[in-house]
Symmetry: C2
Subunit: 376 residues, 2 copies
Amino acid sequence: MKISDLSTPAALVDLAKMERNITRMQSRMDSLGVNFRPHVKTSKCVEVTQAQIKAGARGITVSTLKEAEQFFAAGITDILYAVGITANKLPQALALMRKGCDLKVLTDSVQSAAAIAAFGLANDIRFKVMIEIDTDDHRSGIKPESAQLLEVAQALSVGGTELYGVMTHAGSSYDLNTPEALAEMAEQERSGCVLAAQRLRDAGFACQVVSVGSTPTALSARQLEGVTEVRAGVYVFFDLVMHNVGVCTTDDIALSVLTTVIGHQEEKGWAIVDAGWMAMSRDRGTQKQTTDFGYGQVCTLDGEPVEGYVMTGANQEHGIISRPDHPDLSIAKRFPVGTQLRILPNHACATGAQFPEYQALNRHQTVQTWPRFYGW
Amino acid sequence: MKISDLSTPAALVDLAKMERNITRMQSRMDSLGVNFRPHVKTSKCVEVTQAQIKAGARGITVSTLKEAEQFFAAGITDILYAVGITANKLPQALALMRKGCDLKVLTDSVQSAAAIAAFGLANDIRFKVMIEIDTDDHRSGIKPESAQLLEVAQALSVGGTELYGVMTHAGSSYDLNTPEALAEMAEQERSGCVLAAQRLRDAGFACQVVSVGSTPTALSARQLEGVTEVRAGVYVFFDLVMHNVGVCTTDDIALSVLTTVIGHQEEKGWAIVDAGWMAMSRDRGTQKQTTDFGYGQVCTLDGEPVEGYVMTGANQEHGIISRPDHPDLSIAKRFPVGTQLRILPNHACATGAQFPEYQALNRHQTVQTWPRFYGW
């Protein structure tokens, strides 16, 4: 099948770009001497994840137990569920482990740690548990220097669990946009997580794994002493937010939405396309960054950016394409009805999630359909 | 099954509220003397749509041909595809019609009108076509007084099509928030669409159907003289955007996301829940309205709003619950780990779309799973 045979909107993955992104990250991790555990919440697609593993990834990171189930069913066993687990999800985790999944779970509270331990004891199984560390005030986790760190480790020492390691995610790296600031954040992420591991070891606890990562810090760290593994997700496709952060160019963005021009409002300089926010997602992640791409950057069918044209507005199934700086009153001539365009997304994780499948475009310009899943 | 048996996050539909919303709209349409054709893009769920039809709806409106296919497969034949159709989608529309679907399609350009007519002639079928009218400068459509209106009608007069009527959608009603302004917009929508119909009839064209609507204007119109049918979608669930527009209360909102507290950052006054933007959607529709609800209004498990607490931040699978006016440093006591909450969404169409199924909660507090579909 060729691009022109696809019905629109469709989620296109440029395989050459994806492979280049995978190679770039894996080579970097290899040269930094750490394992790489990609976060597969970005693609939720077995074929994409297999390409990451083929390139050298060791295990995967997931954001839901459904991802764990789906990827385990596809033959991947080494899985980190990187969202703090609560008691109500433990039976689902147990069922996976009983089937042979080497699942690791996460906690940042004494209460949840105690619940995991009690559940493990009651079910005669040993949960591998990581403690979540907060190295950037961004979201969850325990501060590396907090007394709570040792309390959680203690709660995990009563049987039913094995303290497997520490992990952190410097999500605030998304707010930065200079190489220096990114390198500093990567070092803050590394040193905080290593400190937490050291404090655990000093107190007599084992702490085998020290896991850090986000796409910006993974691509910016100068050294990763004390770190054993890195996680990153969105690098596999990249997107306009990452372009604004400064860790990729628009030419690296492997995911785009194929769309068709369905009409115009000529006097406003609008072309209207059949990809609205249902296709692009409502993510406006570039809104507060240095370049606001609206709902996405317009490219030709071949994938070349059309300078200055973005999706300035979106309804559920309508997107408005225009030139924000000064309206193009000839837009109907430039993009007549029926023209096919590609739109680069703000946020690949959010845009991919709107589609039941990717259209994987190879070097011969033919497409293959790769299913992806959603839900919980 | 009871709410407490559900894994989280889950999309809950309160059936009593949904039925009340359906009855309110249908009664209003009955008393205004018009047909009602609900827009089912909000729910994409057969059971919800059947409830609308049972209450008196005549036909449905869809935003994708996939919706048309799915609802036709469920036995609904009278379907309006309310997004301008282009040549590449005509074979799919034809296939539906050949199976017996009474499909109506839409256009606002001479070029597309001519393409539909040529395709109809070539396939010996007669497409029922509506002309889209722009009554509020919001999106697509032809101005009621434009010369182009008659040109499109002319392009539809060569065989292969039947000019079925005119339709408009005053989407800019979402930007208003007083009864007076909404009533004025409803009148603008009505009078513009009726004018377009009159111009067509004066020029000798048949124009059987005059179709208008959006949830705010449908609920605000004082009279609908000359209108034959009204369309509205989000009223079936309502949401916080509609609350801010002023056409519902929070107590009318039938859709909410069930979530579990998974942790805290106590010194910041944060509770962290397992519903992030993947569950809520990235829709921040209340951001520019008089009350900004962040990613949603926090309610107890019973559905009672907890005044002042909203989802102030969201990552993919993490939501941050806090009190924006002044942090609640006792939030861990108020919402301990394991607490279940419901979050009212900004935009029901966007939030529903994140879930493969609804959990329909009846008066006996038991839930039934209702599938919904997505994609194109």
